[in-house]
Point group: C2
Chain length 219, copies 2
DNA sequence: GTCTATATCACGATAGAC
DNA sequence: GTCTATCGTGATATAGAC
C-alpha cells in the first residue's frame, strides 16, 4: 500500500487549503494565498477547482472520509456495546489527532451554518451524507447499549453532542487548549491521556454499574 | 432596575454586531453590513468604533461579562463542591441559552487563534482576563472537590475541556444540533433537558460513589 | 496545465461638509 | 453624530496566449 506516488497538483492544493481553512476559516482565506502556498498561480488553482466553495467542500469531504474510514471498523465487530464504544472513541481521537487541521475543520463545519450555501453545490451533499453515516453509526451503538442494559437510558442525541464536545472541540481548541493543558494537544502522551479521560468519563457516566478503570496512564 | 432607558447607538451596534459575528465570524462580516443592520451609515459606525477589531472585542467583552456575572455567585457560597458544580453548570447553561449568539461567539473566541492579534489591542487584554477569571474559578472548584473526596482524581484541565464541550459547543451547534436533537436548542424544555443530561453525566463521572439522579425531566 | 492580464466588486478606513 | 465621497487594496473569477 505505501507506494510513493508523487502527489498531484490537486493533492498539494488540498493539503495546503486544509491547513489554511482550518486555521482561519472559509472567509479568512483567499484563493491567492492558497495558490501561492501550493506553488501555483491563482488561475491555475481555478483550473483545478471552479470556485472557492468547491475547494472548501473538497477539503471537508476528504477530512470526513478519513474519519469515517477509521470509525467504520469499530462498529462492525460483534463485541459488546461498551467495548465497541471504547474502540469508537479511540478511533475518533486517533483520527482527530493524526492531522492537526481535522478537528478544526470539522468543528467549523458543524457549528457554522453553511454560510456559502452548501446545499446549492452537489459536493455539499456528499459531505452531508458522510456526517449522516457517522452520526447514525454512533447513535445506533448507543441505542444498542441501552437496549442491552449496558448503558443507562441517557438520550442518545445528547450523548452524541457530549461526545463531539469531548473530542472534536478538544482537539480544535488550539492555543487555548494547550494553555489549559500546559502542553501540546497532539503529542502521543497527550492523546493517550485524552482517550483515558474520556473513557473513564464514559464508563462512570454511561455504565449501569460503574467500572473501575479505562486503562489509566500516569500524567 | 428595569427602567426603560432608550438604547444608545452604541448598544444597538453591539446588538447587531453580536448577532452577525456569531453567525459568520470576524472575517465573514463587513462593517457596511453591520452599519446597515444598525440603521447607520458606514462612517457613523467608524465614529463609534475606530476599527473592526475594536468592535469585535467590545462584543466579545460584553458576552464574557454577562457570563462571568452569572457564574461568580455560584462559586461564592459555602456549599459542598458537588452542589456548587451543579449550580455552576446550571448558571453557565442559562447564560449560554439566554442569548443565542453567546455560545457561538465564545466558541469562536476559544478555538480561533486570535487572527486579528488581540494582544495588540488594549481591549483584548480585558477579554483575556475575563476568561482567566472564569477558568480559575471552575478549575479551583474541581480541585476543591477532589481534595474533599467528592470527585475522583480526574485531571481538572481535561474536565474543564469536557465541560466546555458539553455546554459551549452544544449551544453553538446551531442547525446541526437542532437536527440531531429534533427541535430548538433554546426552548425552556430543551435547556432544562440539557442541564439534566450534563449533571447526570457529571455525577456518574465525577462522584466517588455514583449518585442516583440529577433532577430528571421526562423527554 | 500554467501563465499574464483584466473585469468587477467589496473591503476597511479617512476626509470633511453639515 | 450622521452624512457623501473617496482612497487604496485585495477579493473572486474570467479571458485567452503558450
Amino acid at each position: 500500500m505505501p507506494v510513493p506516488i508523487p502527489p498531484t497538483s490537486r493533492d498539494k492544493i488540498l493539503d495546503v487549503a486544509e491547513a489554511l481553512f482550518a486555521r482561519r476559516g472559509f472567509e479568512g482565506v483567499g484563493m491567492r494565498e492558497v495558490a501561492e502556498a501550493a506553488g501555483l498561480g491563482k488561475s491555475s488553482l481555478f483550473h483545478h477547482f471552479r470556485s472557492k466553495a468547491q475547494l472548501y467542500l473538497a477539503v471537508l469531504e476528504r477530512v470526513l472520509a478519513r474519519i469515517e474510514e477509521r470509525l467504520a471498523p469499530t462498529l462492525a465487530s460483534g463485541a459488546a456495546p461498551s467495548e465497541k464504544l471504547d474502540r469508537w472513541t479511540d478511533a475518533l481521537v486517533d483520527a482527530l489527532a493524526e492531522h492537526a487541521s481535522a478537528a478544526r475543520l470539522l468543528l467549523r463545519g458543524l457549528f457554522e451554518d453553511d454560510a456559502f450555501d452548501a446545499e446549492a453545490w452537489p459536493e455539499g451533499q456528499d459531505t452531508e451524507r458522510r456526517i449522516e453515516v457517522i452520526l447514525s453509526g454512533i447513535t445506533g451503538l448507543l441505542r444498542e447499549g441501552i437496549e442491552a442494559g449496558e448503558f443507562r437510558a441517557a438520550s442518545p442525541a445528547h450523548t452524541v453532542q457530549t461526545l463531539i464536545g469531548a473530542t472534536v472541540y478538544h482537539f480544535a481548541s488550539g492555543e487555548f487548549g494547550e494553555g489549559l493543558l500546559g502542553g501540546s494537544l497532539l503529542s502521543a502522551q497527550a492523546v493517550a491521556r485524552r482517550k483515558a479521560e474520556i473513557k473513564t468519563f464514559l464508563h462512570h457516566g454511561l455504565a449501569v454499574r460503574p467500572v473501575q478503570s479505562a486503562g489509566g496512564e500516569k500524567t
